[in-house]
């Protein structure tokens, strides 16, 4: 087995592209050594995908500000498995194998992942074998794919000893829609609409990540006003989901008054987004080259009003949360994620930040307009449901501050720029969605259409940690743990 190779050593003096990523063509030994480096904690695995005859791996070292995309030519699809050395790559490799037929040699878990044996022409009646859990008194609880609440479909297989969960195994892929296949050969406009629907709750973040990747590939510069408006939309999206998550967590601990108050505040945010940008979720409003909707002076006033109301709600929810020991009894020390796992999986968003991982794409790999905003990356260390809830509350405060700054800087101007004549190129981007960093990579064909688009949701590195967080907790606390993670099914299933 080759020795671990730190990314910084390999990158050396090589210059990064306009998107901030150094592009490295590597051989099998270097590929393996980089995978070993992930396992040794020398750098983080950001994404892993197949592109034609090559495998790509996005790696980063936040402390040193280095990012790279390593590319390995496969031998008729065969390449050394990354998961063999670094388990967080496991589901990524299983997914790419299912979708593109690549063969990660040495893959520790040969079971299919997104392929459920249902796709036409590829039907397979073989049963999906869950991992064994044996012992006296153990019983299994199968849940899903259709859940009791209004949530996305997925299967959870619990093995419990009485009320205590000894193992949770997830099975996902139910909402696989073939988004990558649809985007291969698509125009920028078509792909932008699809990207905005990979995970509807993060539509602004996805559209922004895609837009930045496209802009980097084609040397396209969005006007300053558009960049500020993207920030406004992204923070509105974050506010709506963070407050909704806080309410949903409390609701699962039967404190419906907080939930009602949070859903009201969320509704307020969505109504203001609709009034300002013409869509409650702001779908299709961030587009390559700029934004598709301008903000009027009246709209600025509406957002300022929202910020004031949100501040009031925020303070009140914190006061009430703090005054209810029976609620905190459910959240504190429930669903703890260890710092080791968060480091290993490079878990982003509130899952990472509630366990002390101070990573936020808006700061660690700062992009405009965040590079010139005054805000803090809020970190807690409890790693439990309580910490994940409070990190969201902390971030709401920061988002409100950011919105005020963004609105104050808006100057009249264009909101979109024309597409440059460059046809081909590659680009990648990392954008902080409400639940964590979304990575997008695009490659253009010579005809100006997209040859390959890959998007990696933060959930890929959060779902496995939910399995770990639940272990040793009682079955009744699973909904709380699950809500505190709020992973995306659609964003993961592709």
């Amino acid at each position: 087995m080759s020795a671990a190779l730190p990314l910084v050593d390999l990158v050396g003096d090589r210059a990064a592209g306009p998107d901030g990523y150094v592009r490295l063509a590597v051989d099998v030994d270097t590929w393996t050594a980089l995978a070993q480096g992930c396992a040794a904690g020398l750098h983080d695995l950001g994404a892993l995908w197949a592109d034609g005859a090559s495998m790509r791996m996005a790696l980063s070292d936040g402390d040193r500000g280095v990012r790279a995309i390593a590319s390995l030519e496969t031998e008729s699809g065969r390449y050394p498995s990354v998961a063999r050395r670094h388990p967080p790559a496991l589901r990524l490799e299983r997914a790419m194998r299912d979708l593109y037929g690549v063969q990660p040699v040495g893959l520790p878990d040969p079971r299919p992942w997104l392929d459920h044996g249902r796709w036409p022409g590829r039907e397979d009646a073989a049963r999906y074998e869950f991992l064994p859990a044996e012992g006296e008194g153990l019983h299994q609880i199968p849940v899903g794919p259709v859940h009791a609440g209004i949530i996305e479909p997925g299967h959870f297989r619990f093995t419990a000893n009485g009320e205590t969960v000894v193992r949770l195994e997830e099975r996902l892929g139910y909402v696989h829609k073939g988004v990558e296949g649809l985007m291969a050969g698509a125009s920028v406009e078509q792909a932008a609409r699809i990207v905005g629907r990979i995970s509807g709750d993060s539509t602004v973040a996805y559209a922004w990540a895609f837009a930045r990747a496209v802009e980097a590939a084609l040397g396209w510069t969005p006007p300053p006003r558009a960049v500020l408006l993207r920030g406004v939309m992204a923070e509105l999206e974050r506010l709506a989901h963070h407050i909704n998550d806080v309410g949903a967590i409390c609701n699962d601990a039967s404190v419906v008054t907080i939930h009602a108050r949070c859903t009201l505040q969320r509704e307020d945010a969505l109504a203001v987004s609709d009034a300002c940008f013409g869509h409650r979720l702001m779908m299709d409003r961030v587009v390559p080259g700029g934004v598709a909707a301008d903000l009027s002076a009246e709209g600025i006033g509406k957002i300022r009003g929202l910020v004031a109301r949100f501040e009031e709600t925020h303070a009140e929810i914190l006061r009430v949360y703090d005054s209810l020991p029976s609620l905190q009894d459910r959240t504190i020390t429930t669903g703890i994620v260890s710092p080791e796992l968060v480091r290993q999986y490079a878990a982003g968003g509130f899952v990472g930040r509630a366990t002390g991982r101070a990573f936020d794409a808006r700061k660690t790999f700062a992009y405009a307009p965040y590079d010139r905003l005054d805000f803090e990356v809020k970190v807690r260390t409890g790693g439990d449901v309580d910490a994940r809830l409070l990190v969201r509350m902390d971030e709401i405060g920061e988002s409100l501050r950011m919105l005020s700054q963004l609105l104050g800087r808006l100057a009249p101007g264009e909101i979109s720029a024309g597409r440059p004549s460059v046809a081909a190129g590659e680009g990648a981007a990392l954008v902080e969605a409400f639940r964590g960093d979304v990575f997008a990579s695009v490659r253009f064909a010579a005809d100006g259409r997209l040859a390959r688009v890959h998007a990696r949701d933060a959930s890929w590195f959060q779902w496995p940690l939910l399995e770990a967080a639940v272990e040793g907790n009682i079955v009744a606390d699973f909904p709380l743990c699950n809500k505190s993670f709020n992973c995306s099914y659609s964003g993961h299933d592709l």
Binding site: H116, R118, P145, I150, I151, L182, G200, N244, R280, S488
Partner: protein
């Protein structure tokens, strides 16, 4: 907590005035009912939501109809956990091959009479996912659909109005 109660007293209710049923949805529901005679269920319907491949945008807006502003329960519309308790199956998403069986099983678990509502552009015509080999097709290719609610996603007020049409027609038939 006290502040919540005081707010409710002094700020007044957040709930909007009840909207009427959507005209197009009313017409569609009447037509569907004319074709398939149904027993009266009264002015109350239990809804089981099924995500058959959605991007989760529709789910966000379905959640919103239960918030205090739209408060769908005041109309006798209630989301239930089990299809066994459901009168209405509210389906979102372009039905994926991986969800097809779960969708059919959930449908078959609901007692008759049952209504099927295709919610959102994806359930209506697969939306941006049309043509993907991972997608079976519009909901109507798989289940008999009584009401289509287009939109990407349909805003909560549109969802409320469409569901009200179901109640109106249902009650009138009885």
């Amino acid at each position: 907590m006290r502040s919540f109660l005081l707010d409710a007293l002094f700020k007044g209710k957040a709930t909007i005035a009840p909207p009427g049923p959507d005209a197009a949805a009313l017409e569609q529901a009447t037509r569907a009912l004319g074709e398939r005679a149904r027993r009266r269920l009264g002015r109350s319907l239990a809804i089981r939501e099924i995500d058959a491949g959605s991007c989760n945008g529709c789910e966000l807006e379905i959640h919103a109809v239960s918030n205090p502003v739209y408060d769908i329960e005041r109309f006798g519309l209630k989301f239930v956990a089990s299809p066994r308790h459901a009168d209405v199956l509210l389906v979102t998403g372009p039905v994926t091959w991986n969800m097809r069986e779960a969708l059919l099983r959930t449908y078959n678990a609901a007692p008759e009479p049952r209504w099927v509502v295709a919610l959102g552009d994806c359930a209506v015509n697969c939306g941006v996912f049309a043509g993907s080999p991972a997608v079976v097709g519009p909901l109507a290719d798989i289940l008999p659909v009584d009401l289509h609610v287009p939109g990407c996603p349909p805003p909560p007020l549109e969802i409320v109005k469409a569901l009200l049409a179901l109640i109106e027609v249902q009650a009138a038939r009885g």
